[in-house]
Structures are given as structure tokens and as C-alpha cells.
Amino acid sequence: MDQLFNRKYIVQGLFIVIALILLGKLFYIQVISDKAFVSAESNVLRKIYKYPARGAILDRNMKVIVQNEPVYDLMVTPNEVKPFDTLALAKALDISFEDVRKNLRKARGKSSYQATPFLKQISVQSYARLQETLYRFPGFRTQDRTIRHYPDSVGGQLFGYVKEVSPLDIEKSEGFYKPGDYKGKSGLEFSYEETLRGEKGVINTVYDAHNTPQGSYADGKYDINAVSGERLISGIDMRIQKLGEELMKNKVGAIVAIEPSSGEILSLVSSPGYDPNLLVGRNQGNNYMEFIVGNPYRPSLVRPIMGYYPPGSSFKPVDALIALQEGVIDPNTTFFCPHYYQAGNRKIKCEHFDGSIALRRGIARSCNTYFCYVFQKLITKNGMKNQRQTYQEWRDKVAKFGFGSKLDIDMPYERKGYFYTADHYDKIYGKRWGYTNVISQAIGQGEITATPLQMANAMAIIANRGYYIKPHLIKGIGDKNLVKKEYVVKNYVGVDAQHFEPVIDGMQDAVNSSWGTAILSQIPDILLCGKTGTVQNPHGKNHSVFIGFAPRDNPKIAIAVIVENAGFGSTYAAPIASYMIEKYLKGTVTGARAAQAEWMKNQNLLPVLKDKTAAVKLTKADSLLIKKADSTKRIKDSLRIKSAIIKQTVTTKPKELKTVVIDKPVTQK
């Protein structure tokens, strides 16, 4: 053996080292990393999704109020497309020649070998026409879908709308939603999305490198059938919902009606409303811009749960109840009303002449002086030195009625209203402040604001004599008619049942006695108890408010009606409430009142629109433009008002809102 023999080991060593390098890389890509495995799956697998039908929604009388309609998306796989008669396709789809080419270009930009939408939501009629000629357009296929249909064309804000998911939705859902999926974006469609959406089905198909389908993957082992969404039963009574929207036509405001015993919402009207069918189908985007964003009265503001209104006189019954519970008054306590109430250097006016007045008449006549005295007694009952502490205690008691916090309605974007704690006033007035500083709260003015829902809920509490169930729209989910746990719990407000009767007496008189404030809204054979409110609005006509419930014994409906800039509560809000109640209880508005209701429907009370910039700065209580009605702001506002006055304000005439009727597609049986 020569000395070169050792070189054998160098050569053999090299072989082994190289083999180990190869094995090392193989070990990495095969065993450690699963990137390749995932890529391999996406190479061969194409998922075809089957979209489930969304769950239907029924009203309390089991009438279908939200349903589905079949539509079809035309999908295109660009590299399967062969030259075709563009004009014929354009004709079949009822779109322009340029649109066909534009859509095709767009689809090519997305993916050349995956089916992408060419034209979304083709109606049944177009689909029928297209189906006959589809064979002439290789590379195109249709994808079944369903879209929403709202048979009554009311309740736009209530139901919300469904829209294709945005990239943000997809990201937030951590991969649950895929591009092309639909999702409820507001209203009930949003809050019950998980129940309504159902489960998407998927069919896995294997494709070869030439994008030719090679059949089902793993014999369909991983395929999933689409599962339709579950149906919902809502507490809404479509009859009064519809009547409510008609009554509120060309008015700005809200109606909330609740069944006190269950907390089920019977009607939730936000005005101006819109036809939810506008936000369905291919014109969704355009309609949204035109009718929702483009409407200066902001239909996108769901006033029943988002609008802030000072409750005004309708707050007085709550005041009285707490005073009775605290024992600072009894039903026979009288106060002398000299036509005003003097609080420090502020004078609060009263609009009637009654002299000495007790609780029942105080409520029926809506006496400001009476309730200022009540408030004064409430806050000073522990001595003048402890007013701050007593205010806080009072505030907490009122808060139990649902003011100043959300009621957790099953709709998104509910707001809680302003109802300040003692701390807040410390910031404004320092340590030394008393009832005179906050006296306006006695009559529901000033810094307290509430949503119509909170006002209706307060009525439900009085109707129930002391408790409420959280108001909710859906009373049955799915076939088992489940209801959310929180919607069966009775929430007691800490006022004993016996204290309610004197207050209810006053509310009964307000509507049913000759000296009441709402005597024009009496309903034959039904004892309506209520309270009007005329909410001061420094920037226009007062808001007209009415809250009430009926019948007095075993109440079936509690209601709050607010008509913005409509003046006295007794003129608009109270009659509207009475028509709603009568319709609900009797099934129809009877006698001469039917004609009055018709007259009401035709009233145009749309407020004059100010120049937008000025309006934003000037308005405080006006829910058209939500604005903090807050004491600190007030000072700033006064400065702004001055500067705004210098600016020229442009006013426009209120326009009659057009009722929009869209052609409803004929549903195929």
C-alpha cells in the first residue's frame, strides 16, 4: 500500500459529509417544517363553498318579517375562458359591453385559475335567462346564494343590513370569514350574526397542474354540508311597527314600545326610517350613500337607542316615586305654586295656575314647582351640609330605573345617556354645591339625558309596579326558542309597590281627566296612563315627548314617543302613542281617531336644517347632532355661539322626504 492510500478516506469522508448535508436539508423540509405540506394542499385542493341560507326572523304573531331570496353570483375562472360572444353575455346579464370586459379584467387580476365573482347577485329572472345560454361561455359558472328580503319594507335600523365582509372583518374573525362571505353589519342582523349565519358548506375538489378537476378529495371525507342559520322569533308586532313608521313619516324622532311583563320590545321606530330592502342587492352601496348618508336627518342614527333627549316632564313620575319611597312626601303633601320656583337666583317657570297642589294633580298638570320642591326635599333631607352625599344617593336610586347606563338591548351601538354623579359636579362647582345648582334635574332638564328606550323602560317599571326585565327584541332563538338568560331576570328598582298607585293616579288623570295635559289622547275603553313632556330645546322648537302605559291594570304595553322639534307633548307625541296603543290592544284604531291617525301620518314636522357647521356647534339637546350637554361644555358653547352668530348661518327649507319604493323582485316559489 502506498502512502496515497490514505486519500481514500478523504474521498469517502467527502461522500459521507455530502450525504449528511442532503439528509439534513431533507430532514428540515420533510420533518421539521410543514410549510411544504401546506403548500402542497393548496396546490391541489380547490374548495367550492356552499353558502347557507341565513335564518329567518318572525314577529310575535309568527309572521315572517325577514326572509331570504335566491340570487346567483356569476363566477369566472379566467384561464378556462375561451373567446366568447361578449355582446351576448352582456345582453343576458343586462349589463354593458364595457362592464363585461372590465369585470373580466378585474377577475384576471385576482386569480387566473380560481373562480372569482364576475357579477354578484344576479336576480332570479336574469339567472333564468342566463341559464339557457351559459354553455356558450366556458369558464363561467353560477354560484347559489341567498340575500335578505324584508316583506314589510319597514324597520331599516331595527333589522340592520347584511354586507360582504371587509378585510378588517376577515382579520378580526381570525380566519372564520373568507372573502365573499356575508355578515350582518348592524341591527338584529349584527347582534344575532352567529345564530343567523349558519354554517358554510365546502366541497373539496382535487385539481391537477393543468387545473383540470380530478374528482373529489378523499372521497368527500372532508366535505361539509351547508347548514342554514337558525330562525329567530322577535317580540316585535309588525302591525304597530308599521303603523309607527307611518305615523313618524316626515318627522324626526323615535318610538319604543315594550311589553312590561316580559321586557319584549313591541315596536322600535327610528325616524326618519328607511326601507331595509334598499340595502340588499347590487345597489346596496349606491343606496347606502344616497338614502342613508345622503339624508340630512341622519337615518343612520338609531334614535331609540342612540338618541339623547332630556326626559323633561316625563322624568317627574320617577322623581315622585323616589320621594314617596324615601318618605319625604306622602300623596297628600302639598306645595304652593306661585307660577314659578325660585332656586337661588334662578327662576323656574310653571305654566298653570293651581295654587296649593298635591301629588296627583302635580303629575297630571305637570307642575314644575311641585317637583322642584320634591327635589329640594330629597336632596336636603340629610341637612344642608350633606347635600352632596344625598345627591349621590338619589342619583344611584334613579340609576336603578335604568338611567345613565346601558340596558343591554340586543342591538349594537346602544348608548347610555348622561346622568352625572356627584363627582362630576365637584369638578364644576368645587366642594360647595347644593340642590339649587342641579335643580333642573328635578324636571328632567339640564344635564340628564336618556334614550327613548330608557324612557319606555321607566314606564315598564311603573306599569310593573317596581321591576323591569331588560328590554329585548328577540324572544326565541332557534327551534328550541331559547332566550338569553339576562332577558328573564326581574330587576327591582327599590321602590315598594304601594307607592306606585298615587303616581299612576296622576298619570291616569294626565290623559283621562279634564285637567290633564294629554286629554286629547284618550282611548275609548282603555285606561291609558301617561305623562307628556315638552322638552326645552334652545335651538328650535321644543321636542314633543309622551311616555305612558296601558291599560292601567295588568298593563300590556309601555311606550315612549319623541317627536323632535314638534312643540308640546300633547300635540304630537301623545296622540301618536295613543294610536300605537289602540292598534296594539284592539287591532285597529277606531272611530274618528282613525282619521286623526291618517292626519298625523301626513304631518311634516321636519326641522329646518341649519348650516351644518353652525348647527354642530349650537345644538345641544338636539339628537340630530349628538352633543354632550355637559355643564363644562356649556361655557365653551356660549363662546362658540357668539362666534357662530358672527358667521352667517344658512338655513334651508325642510324638504318633504321622498318615500322610496323599490321594485320588489318576484320571489320564485
Binding site: V11, L23, L26, E41, N43
Partner: protein, 421 residues
Amino acid sequence: MQQQQGNRFFFNVDWITVLIYIALCAIGFTNIYASIYNPDKAGVFDFTSSYGKQLIYVITGLILGLSILLFDGRLFNVFAPFIYGMTILLLIVVLFVGRNVGGNQAWIPIGSFRLQPSEFAKFGTALLLARYVSTFNPKFRDIKSIMIAAAIVLAPLLLIMLQPDTGSALVFLAFMFPLYREGLSGYFLLIFLGMIVLFIADFLVPTYILILIITIIAGLFIYNNRRKQKVIFSTVLVTVIAIAYLFVVKIAYEKVLAPHQRSRIELMLGLKTDNKGAGYNVIQSQIAIGSGQATGRGFLQGTQTKYGYVPEQSTDFIFSTIGEEWGFMGCSVVIGLYIFLLLRLINLAERQRSTFSRVYGYSVACILFFHVFINIGMTIGIIPVIGIPLPLISYGGSSLWSFTILLFIFLKLDSNRMGFI
């Protein structure tokens, strides 16, 4: 030497190598079958299909190999120059009459078969090189013997470059190792390695930094050997050449290499990504191999290979089928078989009495090694795409037969190891 009459031809044949040979051919056939498997047309003996043809190649290859064992081993020594001359001639002929397949003028059509002379040039060169070394016994200390050996190797290499078939030409660099074994200085290997390292580094690191690094290393080296004038002189020379090389490479890279070759190199170095064009093969091949995971998807279950995602599935990228269907275990078995074969060939070569047999044995082992390393390295993305087959496994008659001839000549020489000088 007493031999039984009937056993004379096969006496002393290393049957273990033959078994590995058969095993690798079987693996090749199985995976070619799998790579073009079509459930609707599943006959194994369909001779119009690739696997049917491969079956014919394997059988004829085996017959060819066994018949080589019938020759007298001495003939190969005697006829080495003639065989070499023939293959050179074929390489020249193919440039004129060859059929152009895939951009390479590499095939001579003979009837329905196509002959690829570059495959046969390998054993021609190996034989002549062995003959030269065994006859003149040069120790490669002088320039002349190095030049002669280089000429023997470079003649076919350059002819193949003209086709142009860079991949097959590169394989001829494998002859460095037998020459190294016979006395060529290890510096040649180091210089070669250094050239490759500098070539790659030239792409990844700015040139001026490389120059700085080289200069610093040289400076330290000179400082350590500051008493030895000769070392200082050669170090300076090497440094200057290395720096010049950096610039030459950059220019040569732009001017000499074809665009597709440049992009393959850039892809391998990770300087660019290209999922659709030149990078498609490598990415798909890696996806297929990687998706096999530890144990593979199972025979005929590979989706990537079955549905044609990897181009050149049955020829150059056959390893991706193995990787996908048999996983890391299957890959390890195949690489293990090759390494076992290579190490055994080296051991066999070392036990030869005759220099001719030893040099030839080394050549066979190193050619196989280059093929295996480059081919598998290419499919898993550690070497740029160089289209050469995986020995005995890839589809193709020329390749299979040339490896058979290469191997069985050595087996014959080995069986005669006691017989002659």
C-alpha cells in the same frame, strides 16, 4: 487459477454491488410508474408508456451488464484508446446530426431510440484516464502529466459544453478525485473549492468587502511566515489571483452564462424568488418532497407528483416522487443505498492490484457521486438546477445503460483483480 467451467465468467463478481444495482433500478421503475400513474390505465406492462419502456431498459441493461461480464477484462485496457476515440467522435458527430431536444444538441436518433453520446463519453474517458495512469504511472508532480490528464478529461467536457449541456459537462469534474488519489496535489481540490466559495461569496457580499477579507487573511498568513520568502511570494500571488478572479467571475457571469443559467444560480442563492418561471421547478419539487413528511403519503398517493405539479417528473426530478410518496424514510433509504454503493466501490477500487482497475473504480464512484449529489441537491434547492439524471433511477435508456456499462466494466475488472497486473 482454478475455475469451474460454468462459473468462469461470473467468478469473483461482487454480487453485493449487483444487488444494490438491481435495487436502485427497481426503485427507479417503481417511482417512474408512480409519477405517471393513471388509475384509468393501470397496466404495468404497457410498453408505450414511460414505465413500460423503463422496464425494457432495465431488463436490457441487466442483460448488457451480464454480457459485459463475459468479456475478458483485459480487453477494456487494450481498447481504452479506441473506445475513447469512438466517444469523442460521437460527440463531434452529434453536434452536426444530433437532434435538438430542449435546447441541447445531445441526441443521435437511431431508429426509434435516441442515443446520448455524452453518457457514453464518461466511461470512455474513465478507461483512457485509467490506461494513461497505469501505463505511465505519473505522480502528477510535473506540469506535463497534469496537462495530459487534463486534456483527456477536458476534450469531452468542452465538446459537451458546445451542445450545450452544462450539466453533463460538469460531471467530468468528478475525474479530479481519481487523479487526486493517484497523486495530484490536494491544493487543486482546495483551489477548486476556493473558486466555488469565492464565486458564491461574490454574489452575497459586496466585492470590496471580500477583497478586504482576503487581504487581511493574506496579511496574517504572511506575518506568520515572515521568515520564509518563498511562502510570502506564493501567498501574494494567490491573493492577487483571487482578487482578479473576483472581477473575472463577475464579468464572466454576465457575459458567458445564459440568462436561464444565471437565474437558476440566483434562485439557488436566494437572491431572487420566482414562483412561476425558472423557480417553479425547484419550488414545486421542494413542496412535493416536503409534503412527504416523515413517512410519506404512500405508494401512488402523492398528489403533487400524480397531478403533474413537478415538471420533468420521471427524469431529472424523479427524487421528488420518492420524497413525496416515501417521505424522509424513503429518501434516507435511497441516499443510504447510494452511499453504501459509493463507499463499497471505493473499497473495491482500493483492493485492486492493477492501477488501471483502481483508477477506473475511483472514476466510476466519483461520477456516480457527482450525479447523485447534483441531482438530489437540485431537487431540494441546495444546488442550482442542473439537468442531469439520478443514476439508475431516472427514466431514460441512455443514462441507465451508460451507468450499467460503467459499473459492470468495473465489476468485471474487479473479478479479475487477482489475474493480471
